[in-house]
Symmetry: C2
Subunit: 329 residues, 2 copies
């Protein structure tokens, strides 16, 4: 059996000379009670250091006061700002947040979801790698908000990279580049699919050739190691899935004595690291912090109004031109 581990509502009740129901109400429905009763009860509670037991409350109400955010890789610089604002917004609504890192694996993501499912009000799935079916099933159970995943009928916030990507292609064309490569990210990432598709279309429309190099998991090392393939491709400019990859490419290029932007132009994505490198990278903006806040607000709103139509919030992007793009050699 569970053993007592702190001050309980009952303790407060006896000391305040009221019933347990009254103590409960003093916190959850003070307007039902005599003002002085509320004050007395709260005073006693304070003195005793009473902290409500969430588990018991959850059991009684069916509400947990928790949400979960799942990300593929918290070490990828895109996610920390997102998680940060998310948690901050959640805190304001008195929600605690579980963090799950799926390590880019759909299976681990699914496991996290079931593990957390029994103690959260709702989920924010950021860049979910799971199948649409699984996500739909989950969403039937409880509120789900997606970030950078586009599933009809489920509330979501999408960072629409197509704007920035298109600008990038146009810029590169104007600079005289004829042959580009896209350093593609994880295949089950919606962001990658969108970026890839935009790039292919826009390049075709602009009359530019575009090769695709799969780097898989978007890491610095993967970017650096893709340089061989880049050189092989004969391209004079590259657009990377994200800034981490892009930064790896930058390093790999320099390692080979290929100077950026003199010999080669480079565009990143997400603008997470771009301003920090030397030369500062041209990158597509991505407002991860804003996305986190929107996701939290969307979830909280859905929690309160379960019947609302699924909303989709689109965050537009643009190209931030810095020093890694210039005239084709």
């Amino acid at each position: 059996m569970g053993q007592r581990l702190g001050v309980t509502l009952g303790d407060v009740a006896v000391l305040a000379g009221v019933s347990r129901a009254t103590v409960s109400r003093a916190f959850t429905r003070p307007e039902m009670l005599n003002t002085e009763t509320v004050e007395r009860v709260r005073g006693v509670a304070e003195r005793l250091g009473y902290v409500g037991n969430q588990a018991a409350r959850a059991l009684a109400t069916g509400r947990f006061g928790n949400i979960a955010v799942i990300v593929p890789d918290i070490a990828n610089p895109f996610f920390p700002p997102l998680v940060r604002t998310l948690q901050s917004a959640a805190e304001e609504a008195d929600l605690a947040v579980f963090l799950g890192d799926s390590d880019e694996s759909p299976e681990r993501e699914a496991k996290l979801v079931t593990r957390l499912g029994s103690q959260v009000e709702g989920f924010v799935l950021a860049s979910s790698r799971q199948s649409e079916e699984l996500i739909r099933n989950l969403a039937r159970t409880r509120p789900v908000v997606l970030v950078n995943r586009d599933i009809d009928g489920i509330p979501r916030v999408l960072i629409d990279a197509s704007g920035g990507m298109t600008e990038a292609v146009m810029l590169l064309k104007k600079l005289g580049h004829r042959r580009l490569v896209y350093l593609a990210g994880p295949r089950d990432s919606w962001s990658d699919q969108q970026r890839r598709a935009t790039l292919v279309e826009t390049s075709a429309a602009a009359g530019l050739a575009v090769g695709i190099i799969e780097v898989g998991r978007p890491t610095y090392a993967a970017g650096r190691d893709s340089v061989t393939a880049i050189v092989h491709s004969g391209a004079t400019a590259a657009i990377a899935f994200d800034d981490v990859v892009s930064q790896g490419v930058l390093a790999g290029l320099e390692l080979r004595g290929i100077s950026v932007p003199r010999d080669f132009s480079l565009v990143g994505c997400d603008d997470t690291l771009a301003a920090l490198t030397t030369p500062a990278m041209t990158s597509v903006s991505a407002a991860a912090a804003a996305a986190g806040r929107s996701a939290a607000e969307l979830l909280i709103h859905t929690l309160k109004n379960p019947e609302v139509q699924p909303t989709v919030i689109t965050i537009p992007t643009h190209l931030v031109t810095r020093s890694t793009t210039t005239q084709a050699p």
Copy 2:
């Protein structure tokens, strides 16, 4: 009253033709049961999609199956790798993890702790900004593991920067620098206190002058803005509280036309960003990922053996020499 929101243990029980206790045991103590009973029960559970209710379990056992990790700023690149390994290790022990971001505020940290206190087994406080007293009180309640905070009697993992710092001072001396500055971080950070103290001592011993510039919250902007003070100080080399600050300084210096390392030498700390910059920064190593894993293991171990002596794990550091340190001008 709470309303049923899913398949309960009772549902499984009737369908499997056993008591609820048996269903419970089929999951928590299968060795007590007939193998075939276990299989039958689990089969039924599976078919029904039964997922145990954590709140109820927690209420009955007093155990929650959750831990919390609190960080001052998840967007600071030191923490994501730490949180990542922490969560991964926790997952292996079937513990879910709450993430709290205190935004460098002791008050918010305290609030998070009380908010989460009623649903976690234990805490990992990373770079806690709280008073020693509060932490001691908390530790009386439930297991607490500290990261980069040195409180006697509480299990902790400390990244000991003194090794790397000392090497840095020695290197700079050898390179002919006579006057250094330390770009100091948050005052209530143990790491800062340790780095500051080491630097002052070592420099004195080495016969070098060392100025201290407070940058407060360790951000890129703060680092960049500290350059005026650096120039004023007359120093020829700087050691920064962390790589974020250091990177800001690097940018600020370049902005003023001060070339690193030609005109000025720079050492970062934590080695989070150092390898990524151009020029690559000399920095003190810091193994955040290892710290996260150790912290998780320490907490899990404490959870299982409540009576053990408080352990302290010290992670040594060293200087990683790259390109931002050279002969004094």
